[in-house]
Amino acid sequence: MHEISLCEGVLQVLQENAVSQGYSKVKTVWLEIGALSGVEPEAMRFGFDVVMKNSLADGARLEIIHLPGEAWCMQCSKSVQVSARFEACPECSSYQLQVTGGDEMRIKQLEVD
């Protein structure tokens, strides 16, 4: 959707943590991206290199950890996997699902110098 803005968000977090964590160069960034987060990993990779240019993360490697979409089905009373928000429960076809996981877009960890 707006992966460039998201990459700028990543860069802000990297810059803020640089002081508190005492690093000046970021070599690898691990991101957790959920299947329901609306983030397109390929666009993220494209935006990442562009946004990180001339920053403390110039040339950094981007590792994306994909997390599956998870929802609680009220009819089945259990957790099921879904790949989109409008999907029905794969077991009972109900739409009464509460998304419980997979909407993450989080910076998990960094390799820094």
Binding site: V13, R85, Y95, I107, K108, E111, V112, D113
Partner: protein, 274 residues
């Protein structure tokens, strides 16, 4: 440089602000070269690289700005509504009609987001309500930071209604919290009835869907029931109101929703409740 948050130059233009918003902090073109890794390390046996656990949301920065806006709204008893839709759904017409009809009941203010031009803010100002235009430049959505700045300039009255008309886009504004009480999605019947399925994130994030331009239904092949079913499929909690900002049909229900929602914003502000 901005005195509120220290932001520098960029592309966003907020009326009445001579500085611009920029996302990347400093980029003075300096890169520090600390060698190529362990082989260049000064301390023998120690690698220069280390791992730092961050566990921070990518949108955490935006969420901080949004939380500050939300606090401001709470302190001042302001009801902030974030209006989202495709371009051309009739957002601005809906807003001008709403303002005309409710102006005698409430103090109101509007933040207008568009990529370019101040046309919409001018349309709002023509109603007599104060409005501020934010031009996002190449940006596809408003963010918490831009709205925070707009509040400083706009200074909405205590107890007022603040409408934030987001950039016409059903994708990006879904993820960016502005500190609003509710997202209101506007869908017009001249669009596809399956838009809630095509853009599920937005309809999932919205608390209310306004189905606009219903005066045109006789001329269109738009299945209202199916559209509402799609919206509820994506978001079982969503409320749907059908209206026409042109004829005024159904607008009373929208005003009722505003009145009820505003009461919630006024909880804890007895002096402002009227």
């Amino acid at each position: 440089m901005c005195t509120v948050c220290g932001c520098g130059e960029g592309e966003t233009q907020i009326e009445g602000h001579d500085h611009h918003h920029h996302d990347h902090g400093e980029q003075h073109g300096h890169t520090h070269d600390y060698g190529q890794g362990p082989a260049h390390a000064h301390a023998p046996g120690m690698t220069q690289s280390r791992m730092v656990r961050i566990e921070q949301d990518i949108l955490s920065k935006n969420n901080q700005y949004a939380a500050a806006n939300r606090r401001y709204f709470q302190q001042h008893g302001i009801l902030g509504l974030n209006l989202v839709s495709s371009p051309g759904s009739g957002k601005t017409t809906l807003l001008t009609r709403t303002i005309d009809d409710l102006q005698s009941d409430y103090a109101m203010a509007v933040i207008e987001g568009d990529q370019q031009t101040a046309n919409d803010a001018e349309r709002i100002r023509a109603t007599g309500v104060k409005a501020l235009q934010i031009n996002t430049g190449k940006g596809c959505h408003l963010d918490g930071h831009m709205v925070g700045h707009a509040l400083v300039t706009l200074k909405p009255e205590d107890g007022s209604l603040l409408f934030i008309e987001n950039v016409g886009n059903l994708v990006c504004p879904a993820a960016f919290d502005l500190g609003e009480a509710h997202k209101v999605a506007i869908l017009s019947v001249t669009e596809g009835e399956d838009k809630p399925l095509k853009y599920p994130d937005m309809f999932h994030a919205a608390d209310l869907m306004l189905l606009n331009k219903i005066d045109l239904l006789p001329y269109l092949d738009f299945d209202v029931a199916r559209c509402i079913a799609y919206a509820q499929q994506v978001n079982p909690r969503i409320k749907v109101l059908q209206l026409s900002a042109t004829t005024g049909e159904g607008m009373q229900a929208w005003y009722q929703w505003i009145a009820a929602t505003r009461q919630m914003a006024l909880v804890g502000h007895p002096a402002l409740a009227v």
